[in-house]
Symmetry: C2
Amino acid sequence: MTQTRGIDVAVSTVILTLRRTEDGAAVLALPLVLRTREPFAGQWALPGGWLTAVESPVDAAARTLAETTGLTPSYLEQLYAFGAVDRSPTRVVSIVYWALLRQDDVDAQSAAHRASGRAPENVRWFDLDDLPPLAFDHRAIIDYALWRLRNKVGYSRVAHGFLPAEFTLADLREAYEAILGRQLDPANFRRQVESSGTLLPTDRFRTGSHRPARLYRYNTDVELADHGPLGPDETSTR
Amino acid sequence: MTQTRGIDVAVSTVILTLRRTEDGAAVLALPLVLRTREPFAGQWALPGGWLTAVESPVDAAARTLAETTGLTPSYLEQLYAFGAVDRSPTRVVSIVYWALLRQDDVDAQSAAHRASGRAPENVRWFDLDDLPPLAFDHRAIIDYALWRLRNKVGYSRVAHGFLPAEFTLADLREAYEAILGRQLDPANFRRQVESSGTLLPTDRFRTGSHRPARLYRYNTDVELADHGPLGPDETSTR
C-alpha cells in the first residue's frame, strides 16, 4: 500500500449560540460562510481553512474563525476528525472544533469585527432548523455536533455556555428545550435541577412584565465536566 | 501565513484489556511496539502507521493494528486528533483510536497471528501502571485514553468491553476497580448496579472454590451509549 506522506488537513468550527427569534422563541443558530471557490462554489460551509505547518489544529481553528466571523470563544473543544475518503473531491481530513457562545458576546464581537473593516461579506447566521444546502459533509458534521450537545446536557453544565453568570430557571429550561428540541415540564424541570445540587440560588430577582423570578448561578464546587489532561497546546485558543 | 497543503497524518490505536496477574489481581494492559527507526528508535510506541490516500483513518488504524498485533476489535472509537506543532521532530498530526478487548479474545487473536508467521517480534504487552518510556507524546495520549475511560464508566456500559456476555457482580466490580484505580465497597456497588436497571440477573450461577455467584448480563433495552450519527465510513472497521 502506498505510504502517502502529506495529506491536506483542514480545520472547521461549529459555533452555536441561542438566538431569540422575533416571536420570542429561543433557537440554536450558527454562522456559515458562502464559498466563493470550487469545490462547492456558491454553497454554504462551516468557517475554517487549511492547517498550516506552524500552528496546532486548535490555533488554526481559532484563527480561521476569527478571520471570517470575528468570534473569539474562550475555549474550543475538539469535536471529531472527519476523514472518509470520499468526503471531498480531493482527499481532505478535517479536524472540527466546536464551542457555545452567548448571544450578547456574538453581538459584541460581530459588531467589533464589522467596525474593523476586515469582516468578509459572505458570512451569515442560520437557525439550525433552517439550514441551506451545505458543502462537503458539513451537514453531517453539524448533525453530529448537535448529537454531542444533546448527549452532553445530561452530564455537564454545557447549557451554561449559552447563559450569563446569573439566570432564571426559565432561562435554563429554555436553553435545554432548544438543545433537546422538545418542551420540558416546568415543575419537573425545577425539581430536577434543584435536587441536582448544580445550581445555587442568589438573593436577586429578575423583575419585568412577569412576577419576579429568582436568579441562580452554577455551583462551581460541583465539577461536572473538565477538559481532562490535554495540555494547552491541544486545547487553548490563547 | 503559509498555506501548507500536505501534512503527515498518522494513525495510532490504544487497545486496552483487563489482564489477570499471577497474584490474581485484574490490571489494565495494552500492546506497544518497539520502534526500530528514528525518531525515537529503541523506544516503545502505540501500534500505528501512516494514513494512506485510499483509506479512511479508522481503516488505517484497524489495518496497522492488525499488521502489528493481529488484533481485530469489532469497533474502534476515535479518541482524539493530536496536533501540537512540537509533538514530533517533523510535523505529524496523529488521529488516535481506542478500543477495549476481552483477554480471551486477545489470547485467541494473538495466537492466530503468531501461527500465521507474520507477527512482528517487536510487540509486547505492558501493564498500564508499569509502562516503559514512550516515544513522541504517546504517554500523554495513553493518560488521556485512561481519563476518557474513567469518565465513560459513569455513563455507559463501557466496562462491558472487558467482560464476557455473562458475568458475576464481582467480575464487574473488578473491572470498575481496575479502570478507576481504587477499591469499591462490594455492598454499595451491588446496590448501585442493581438499582440502575442496566443489569439483568440470569438463572445461572458460577460455581467453584467460593459459594455460587449469580451470573448477570447487560440489559440491552437500556441504551447507555451509542455511536451517534457518524456513518460507517467514519466508525466501521468492516
